[in-house]
Structures are given as structure tokens and as C-alpha cells.
């Protein structure tokens, strides 16, 4: 018996020591350890690289590594190299809670993350306590709700995307009634809540709200219910593959009302999966999707990022990759003038004006930590498997 207890003890201690050692080693190797004259700026990131949110988190991680590499190759920030420590929360906020302490103990000067709204919320208090800036890449409204001293957001807030959709329905389509079909994950539910809040203000009536589980294989039942209503359009809020499934099922059921998507489907995967059913789908997206819609400087930024990403990862970046790009570059810009002092850094981020990013032109103020505005999104239509900008004036 006694030997057993000793063994249990030794084992747990040994494993623990091993765990700690291994973990730190791993972060070191995933960062770019370039010889630097000045002390490197350590930036932490908490991203959902694996788990259900990985379609969002994995490109974010790729982008962060890509951009940091770029910054360091250009000589760093005022001679300081940037070291990025990326933690995977496996799409579970529980892991984000421990990861944030790990990053803080490494002495990071800012944290990018999380990928999802719950993870961003889970780490918010701890980061605020440590008084360093947080750059969230998720869209949930409560992230930048008070207290928001230390948290910024680079994803367009759901409010922006939803407003874009509502404007489109009211101004371009001129309809009165619509139905919602959304994912039961945080992305879909946050969008649904915002639609419910903003639609009545614009004089729109929501006739039916349906949802599906992320993995659901068949949405014909939900769509049948919607078919039985007087909805003039269907708004589908989710990330792949749900919305593609919905588009296909709509075709099968012979539902002909227009399909309006969310920025969650602003990627090639949707078109591949939905096939012919993707034709005519309209959704809000950052200008990155249709570079021609961006003017001058932004077009250039977007094109450069897209070709760089494609060259390294043989894949097209999606909207969420754009959020990571904006987060790291806004931070880098602020670091240039503020240095690593936390108060100064936050003030500098709050001073960001006209930053040309992927998701939009960012203007933070002391009050507004969202940065982007309605103007930074466009409505996009899928035509012949390609994205084209749906101009608000078209139907007038």
C-alpha cells in the first residue's frame, strides 16, 4: 500500500514536471527564435487550432505565424524581434482559462484571441487583471461590452454584419418578412440574437427561427417548417458545412425564396460543398473577398496578404485569417510608437485611425473598441461559382 502511494506521488510529480518542461519547449519551437539585439516583444495568442472551431482557428494560427515572420524579416519593430506564443484551446474555453495564465507567466505584452466568443469571454477578466491589451478575433457582442478597458476586437462585430444583411433586405430587396436558420454554436446564436434585436427596428418581421446542430446531416425538417411560413427570404447564419447543407436541402424541397448567408460562408469551401445550390446566394463579407470592391490601399493590402498566404500554405485564407492579420498588424503598429509599456500600448491602439486591414479600415477610439463600421463590409453574391459585389444600387 505505502509503496503504491509513493509511486502515485512520484508518477504524478514526474509527469507534471515533464508536462511543464515539454509544454514550454513546444512554445519555444513554434515561435521564431531569431537572434535579436534588443529584447524581443513577446505576444501571446489563444486560438482554436483543433476542435469544432478549428476551421476558424487553424487559418488564424497560420496567419499569425506568417505575419510575425514577415515583421521579423523586415527587421522587427524598432529593432525588437517579435516572438509569438500560440496556445491551442481546442475550442473549449476551459483550456483558454489555463492557457491565458501560461501566456501571462511567459511575460507576454499583449494577447491575441480567442477564436470564439466563449473563449474570448473566458480570458477577458484575467487579461484585464494583468492589464495588457487583448485583441479578440470573435464577433460576439458581449466581448467589447463594459468593462472593456483592455479588450479590442478585429472581427466585425455581429452587429455590423447583421445590420448589413438587414439593410440589404430593406433597401435592396424591399421585403417585410424573413426567416432565420442558424447554427446552435456561438457564431450562429450570436447572429440570431442580433437579428432579433435589429430587425424590428428596421420594420422587418421574423416569421420563423430555426436552428441546427453543427454536425447535423439533414435540415429538411427545419426548412419544411420555414416553407410553411410567409417568409420572403431566408437568412442562414453559420459556418461550414451547415449553410451548404441548407442550400442543398432548399433546392431539394423546391424552396425558391432568396438565401442570404452570413460572413461565415465567405470562403471557397461553401461554393465547393453547395455546388449548384450556391448560385445566387448573397452574404455580407469583408472586402477581402472581392478585392475589386476595395479602394486603392486596401485592395493592395488584401492582394498582398492573399498571395503571401497562398504561397506559404497552398490554400486561400478565409475571413477569419483576416481577423488574425488585422490583430497582429494593429498591435505591431501600436508597438512601433508605444513600446512595450502596457498603458501606452493601449492608448496607442485606441489612437489607431485609418488602419488599412483585411476586415476593414480600423478606427479605434477610447470608447469604440470595435474598430470597423458598416462601410467595411459589402454584400457579395455568388455567380458562376465566383464572388461579385452586390451593389446596393442595383435594384433601385
Amino acid at each position: 500500500m505505502r509503496k503504491w502511494i509513493v509511486l502515485a506521488l512520484v508518477l504524478s510529480l514526474a509527469l507534471f514536471a515533464l508536462g511543464c518542461q515539454g509544454a514550454t519547449k513546444q512554445t519555444a519551437s513554434s515561435s521564431s527564435t531569431v537572434e535579436a539585439k534588443k529584447e524581443a516583444y513577446k505576444i501571446g495568442a489563444i486560438v482554436s487550432v483543433t476542435g469544432p472551431a478549428s476551421p476558424l482557428g487553424a487559418p488564424e494560427k497560420n496567419t499569425l505565424l506568417l505575419e510575425v515572420d514577415k515583421i521579423n524579416k523586415a527587421g522587427g519593430i524598432n529593432g525588437h524581434k517579435v516572438e509569438i506564443l500560440i496556445e491551442d484551446d481546442q475550442s473549449d474555453p476551459k483550456n483558454a482559462v489555463t492557457a491565458v495564465s501560461k501566456l501571462l507567466s511567459e511575460g507576454v505584452i499583449a494577447i491575441i484571441g480567442g477564436t470564439t466568443t466563449p473563449s474570448s469571454m473566458a480570458i477577458k477578466p484575467e487579461i484585464a487583471k494583468a492589464k495588457i491589451p487583448q485583441m479578440a478575433m470573435a464577433a460576439g457582442i458581449p466581448i467589447t461590452a463594459a468593462p472593456d478597458e483592455w479588450v479590442f476586437r478585429t472581427a466585425q462585430s455581429d452587429a455590423v454584419a447583421v445590420q448589413k444583411v438587414i439593410d440589404y433586405m430593406v433597401k435592396t430587396m424591399k421585403i417585410k418578412k424573413f426567416a432565420i436558420l442558424s447554427d446552435q454554436n456561438s457564431f450562429g446564436q450570436s447572429g440570431t440574437e442580433e437579428l432579433k434585436k435589429l430587425a424590428p427596428k428596421a420594420g422587418l418581421e421574423i416569421v420563423e427561427v430555426q436552428s441546427y446542430k453543427t454536425e447535423d446531416t439533414n435540415m429538411t425538417a427545419q426548412l419544411t417548417k420555414i416553407k410553411g411560413t410567409k417568409a420572403e427570404a431566408l437568412v442562414v447564419w453559420g459556418t461550414n458545412p451547415g449553410p451548404a447543407q441548407a442550400a442543398k436541402n432548399m433546392k431539394e424541397l423546391g424552396i425558391t425564396i432568396p438565401y442570404i448567408g452570413s460572413h461565415g460562408i465567405s470562403n471557397k469551401t461553401f461554393i465547393t460543398l453547395a455546388g449548384p445550390a450556391a448560385e445566387g446566394v448573397v452574404f455580407p463579407a469583408g472586402r477581402a473577398l472581392v478585392p475589386s470592391s476595395a479602394k486603392g490601399a486596401q485592395a493592395e493590402v488584401i492582394n498582398k496578404f492573399m498571395s503571401g498566404y497562398k504561397a506559404k500554405y497552398k490554400d486561400n485564407p478565409n475571413t477569419f485569417a483576416g481577423h488574425a492579420y488585422d490583430a497582429i498588424n494593429i498591435l505591431a503598429d501600436a508597438l512601433k510608437t508605444a513600446g512595450s509599456n502596457n498603458e501606452k500600448l493601449r492608448t496607442e491602439i485606441e489612437k489607431t485611425t485609418g488602419f488599412v486591414g483585411i476586415s476593414g479600415i480600423f478606427n479605434y477610439t477610447q470608447k469604440d473598441h470595435d474598430g470597423t463600421t458598416l462601410n467595411d463590409m459589402v454584400m457579395v453574391e455568388i455567380k458562376d461559382g465566383k464572388w461579385i459585389e452586390k451593389k446596393a444600387t442595383e435594384k433601385k
Binding site: E215, K225, A244, E252, G254, T272, L273
Partner: protein, 293 residues
Amino acid sequence: MHFDQFLQYLISGITSGSIYALIALGFTLIHNSTKLINFAQGEFVMLGGLIAISLYSAAGLPLIIAIPISIILVAIVGIVFERLAIRPLRNSSNITLIIVTVGVSILLKNVAMILWGRDPQSLPAFTGDKPIALFGATITPQALWVIAVTVITVVLLQVFYKRSIVGKAMKASAINPPAANLMGINTSNIVMLSFAMSAGFGAMAGVLITPISMTGYSVGGFLGLKGFAGAVLGGLDNPVGAVLGGVVLGIIESLSIGIIDSGYKDAVAFFILLLVLFIRPSGILGDKVREKV
């Protein structure tokens, strides 16, 4: 609710239900020869779909060749799984084996993620995707494929269990392995065969449903759960029960969307499953097992 709407819910339920039923069959097969629940069953489905996709779109093989190759490959995975991870443990407790299948499921899922990436993929429907109208409701040809294959499979399985020597041997080795061994049945081979068959059925389900629902590395857990629920609802030891359970589960889900709320559909389905179990502790068609003392 209008009749055509009701019919559409029913068809929708039967479509999802027969997917669950096909997967539930895989659970029954392994349970019938080992008394095991194979938590990696859903991963067979995922592998079947993804391998077929690769053979079809990357290797350019026609569907009619890609499908059987995919099924055979997954059956081989099933055999390897049984030989390496189940056979060495044949004297261990059931729960130990179940944890092994959990481990295998985690392994397969994440290897698939590395091999095929995170995005789900699709296959074209076998015979076009023009929906067929039916009293104001519609059904896709691919759904008919799923339903037909499910029915044929369960009939063949019944014949297999009742008529063929191997089938009878399978049942015998589940009920009393030592006795079956004494009767000259090689129980170890029987278990291997049941894993191969179960994996093959899983792969077949994966191939059949990919055109309907797309397949990505992560679908296994969800489909496995539904299949398990269907099998338990119908009675784990009975293939007809498994199919019935799967279809009933699909219909319950679909109707609860129509009547209650789509957000609660899983809760409703599991609630009814619990109720059924409280009334019939061995599922709808399950045998009541009496312990001999």
C-alpha cells in the same frame, strides 16, 4: 399542420433515420458477437466516405469502382483494429475494451484530419439529384438509395443470422463464447469477421450518405452517437430492432422540429429514448435477458 408538410417531416425523418439505422446495424453486428459497444463505429463511416471521395475525385476512379474499394479498405482497417487492439484483450472487462474503442476513435479521427484536412467534402449523388415529388412532398433519389440499401441489408442480415452456419456461429459465440468454442467454433475468427463486417457496413453507410450530408473528419462522433442511440432504442441484439430504432429516432427528431422547436430536437429525441428504456429496459425489440443462477 398540413398533410404535405407532415409527409415532408416524415420523409425527412426517414431519410436521417435510415442513415442512423445503417450505422446502428454496425453496432448490432459487433455487439452480437462480442457484447461490445464500439465507440469507433462512427469513424468507420467517416473513413468510408472520405476514402471514396479521394478515390473518386483525386484518383479519378468511377463511383462503381471507388465504392467497393473504399468498403474493402475500411473493412481491413476493422480487421487490423480487432487484431491489434481487441484480440489481446479478449479476457478483459467490457469497459476496458470500450475505452480501447474510444482511443481508436480519437486516433482515427485525428489521423483523418491530418490526411484529409478540416473541410468536409462531398460526392455526387449516385443517380442524379433531381428530387422526386410525392403527394406534395419531395424526396431525393439518394435518400431512396439509403432506404433501399438499409432494407436490403437488414433482410440479408436476418437470413445470414438465421440460415448460414457462420451467422449462427456468430450468435452462439456472443451468447456463450466458451461453449461455442467447445462446439468447434473459432470464436476469435468470428469476432474478427464481425469487426470486418461492421467496418464494411459503416463504410457503406459513409459512402451512401456523403452525397446527402457531406463528410469531414469530425462527423464520426456525431453519427456514431446517433447510431448507438438508434441501436439501443431498437434493442442492441436485434438488427431489425436497430433499423427500427434508427428510423424512429430520425422521425422523432424531424417531428419535434415540426411540432416543438429545432433547438430542442436532440433533447426531445433523447427524452423519448429514456422513456422507452424505462418501460422496456432492453429496447423496443430487445430480448429480455434473464440471468441463470
